[in-house]
């Protein structure tokens, strides 16, 4: 950075020690104390890279296909071209799936509204896809028009694998971005045109019959919104610059592929993902009972001990019995859902490939075999609260085979157990804390021109009790805390919001809202236990940034604090 020629403010602290006479020194002191963040640098960079890549591909689109496959065969050499082949219309806000494939006679393929009419130059080059299966059920080396629809779902970024193929006998070389534009057509009208084109430059040199993989850009739905589920035709376009024999300059050329019939929307034959089967708050009444050859049961007599807290940790055991002649299983991951009243209330996943042996007939030499694995139960509820105290559970366990086979779900018996952390310890009085911080003492009296009271319905209202008209900015809600023995023990975690203007004449009031947490306050981010049963005082604090008092501009940050009631926490 450039240095100020009159670097004026005194450098360093003032002679009396703490006063930051030199603002620059104080700011550097603050900056030096700031940590980078919890994530390791490389993980943080990876997260940025993923978001940046996604933005590069999706800058103006809502949804679409996601780039595919490897480009190992393409040499990226750094030059760049940028091509935008399609129209872009801002999508409507909150658009619902509609489709209006209106033909536009002035549009040219692949623009929105155009018919899929294009001249294919005899270049020996074409785009092929391997999205379909051949008659034997194996991936086709080259999809052909008329193939059975290929089910996909644009919303989840299903891949459309594409290749640039030299269909002739002679070598062809040239360059392109390495990205083909995907175009979606319905009733012979383009309904989704090419999205933004990334900028890398890739050279190719293809012998006769040879092909090289491409990435595909994501199409943008014409007019925004989403495409209704159904069958469509997909085309692909790749702009290349082809080397011509005896010609110094490369010749631009558009290479096409398709149409391939695709089916958008849910694939009725798709297997539900673990997240869908055992998602938080999912209803699991249809899961059924434990199925052979896997059984799940609670290890009531082999409770582990939490190494950090010393508290007992209930565990779940999956017992596996391999039948003679039955299939062998190798389990790669286990997804666990704790169920109460037929609803998933907590979930967790564990990878077990290094702990779960191969089992079944093969592993046991044709004999019956058995083994089991134990692991901790989820400890955090779907709503973020800790799963503590006496609980009645059923568990559903989804097992993902290592070989990519279909996941299957097994369920456990019901049992009663006590989760750790049930005996909540209340925070001690913290003389350094300021109300309403956790552990802070409630103030004896508050000097404020605002008063907090509750009306008949229990809502909180803030009243200007001063003799002046007061105006400024205030919060839309009131901070509520639970108090025991004179100190804050329960505090709703703070969230950001929108401030609201206020302008109150003497005696005038504004309504506000308050909520309290029944969890023990403490370190943010850690699991928190429910407050012990009992009665707690409810105190409230409401902030006001007063910017005008009796018509005069002021800068007063004020709070109103009051005891507004009591709350009883019952035994669970």
């Amino acid at each position: 950075m450039n240095q100020h020629p009159n670097s004026g403010p005194g450098r360093g602290n003032s002679p009396d020690g703490g006063a930051p006479d030199g603002l620059d020194a104080a700011l550097r002191d603050i900056a030096d104390a700031v940590p980078s963040g919890a994530l390791p640098d490389d993980d943080f960079a990876a997260g940025v890279r993923v978001r940046a890549l996604a933005l590069r591909k999706r800058r103006t689109r809502r949804r679409g296909l996601v780039a595919a496959a490897s480009v190992a065969a393409i040499a990226v050499v750094g030059a760049a071209i940028a091509t935008n082949l399609g129209d872009r219309t801002p999508p409507p806000i909150g658009g619902t799936p509609t489709l209006s494939p209106t033909f536009d006679p002035d549009a040219t393929f692949p623009q929105c509204g155009a018919a899929p009419d294009f001249e294919v130059e005899d270049s020996q080059l074409t785009l092929v896809s391997e999205a379909h299966l051949d008659a034997g059920g194996d991936p086709a080396s080259e999809s052909a028009p008329g193939n059975e629809p290929w089910a996909t779902d644009l919303d989840v970024g299903t891949v459309l694998p594409l290749q640039l193929k030299n269909t002739g006998a002679l070598d062809v070389s040239g360059g392109s971005t390495g990205y083909a534009s995907v175009v979606i057509v319905k009733d012979d009208v383009v309904v989704a045109s090419p999205g933004p084109m990334p900028e890398p430059w890739a050279e190719f040199d293809l012998e006769g019959g040879q092909s090289t993989p491409l990435l595909s850009t994501s199409p943008e739905v014409c007019g925004g919104g989403e495409l209704p589920d159904g069958e469509y035709q997909a085309y692909a376009v790749l702009d290349i610059q082809r080397d011509l024999s005896g010609v110094a300059d490369r010749a631009p050329l558009a290479v096409y592929g398709g149409p391939w019939t695709i089916r958008l929307g849910d694939d009725p034959g798709a297997i539900a993902t673990p997240e869908q089967v055992l998602a938080c708050e999912a209803n699991v009444t249809e899961l059924g009972a434990t199925q052979d050859p896997v059984t799940v049961r609670m290890l009531a007599d082999e409770t582990a001990v939490n190494a950090d807290t010393g508290e007992p940790m209930p565990q779940l055991r999956i017992a596996f019995t391999g039948e003679p002649g039955g299939p062998a299983y190798e389990i790669g991951a286990i997804h666990v859902a704790a169920i109460q009243d037929d609803e998933v209330v907590a979930t967790s996943s564990v990878g077990v490939e290094d702990r779960w042996p191969a089992l079944g007939a093969d592993a046991a030499g044709g004999e019956a075999s058995s083994a089991s694995i134990t692991f901790d139960l989820p400890t955090t509820r779907c709503d973020g609260n800790a799963l503590v105290g006496a609980q009645t559970f059923q568990a559903a366990v989804l097992l993902e085979p290592l070989d990519g086979g279909d996941p299957f779900v097994v369920t456990s018996n019901r049992w009663e157990t006590t989760m750790p952390g049930g005996s909540a310890t209340l925070p001690a009085l913290d003389p350094e804390a300021t109300f309403p911080q956790c552990g802070a003492a409630v103030p004896d009296e508050v000097d404020s021109p605002f008063a907090l009271t509750t009306d008949e319905s229990g809502d909180v209202i803030a009243t200007n009790t001063s003799a002046d008209r007061l105006g400024g900015i205030t919060s839309p809600w009131t901070v509520g805390v639970l108090v025991a023995d004179g100190r804050v023990v329960g505090l709703e975690e703070a969230v950001d919001g929108e401030g609201q203007d206020f302008d109150l004449a003497p005696g005038e009031s504004i309504p506000t809202s308050v909520s309290t947490s029944t969890l023990v306050c403490g370190d943010a981010g850690s699991e928190r236990a429910t407050l012990p049963a009992g009665e707690y005082e409810v105190w409230a604090m409401h902030p006001f940034a007063v910017r005008e008092r009796a018509g005069v501009g002021v800068h007063e940050d004020l709070t109103a604090i009051a005891r507004i009631g009591a709350q009883t926490i019952a035994e669970d």
């Binding site: 006063a19 603002l23 603050i30």
Partner: protein, 182 residues
Amino acid sequence: MTGWEEVLTDLVRARRQALTAYAYLLCNDQREAEDLVQDALVAVFSRGRASNDIETVEAYVRRTIRNTYLDGFRRRKRWAAIRHLAVVPDAQPASDDTTVDHVPARIDVQRALRTLAPRERACVVLRFYDDLTVPQIAAELSLSDGTVKRYLSDAVGRLEDVLGPLPSAHLEDLDVARGGAR
């Protein structure tokens, strides 16, 4: 990895703390600072070709952090005025080298910085942390020199309300009447 990805990785490894610190000076919130840095990096590296020069890219990222911060607070201006009152404050960022002398100074200055409006705060950071001149600040924030001077004058006045006199923060080129710019 492509060129921009390598630049990104190098920048994060070498300058992430500095960028986070810079964002923290502006927003005074560790989590928001981390978000600002990430958002700025994404914004910079999602646009076409970025320079391969780390310093150039860092300068661009800092500018984006600043703009993102100001844009965000333009939208959340009213909330910014009361956030320090409505949100129970987090603990101070950890530091291994804090001293008895430094800790109260840092806390006092942080408290004082909270009283500044976003543009005032940005001017203070550019002036006293980045060591930019008034014309340079004006160029960075697309403001006139006079407006920057008024922001700085007002900001120093507010800081003095909390910290006491800051005689060396009053530059000759800031000698303008307070209260002119809001």
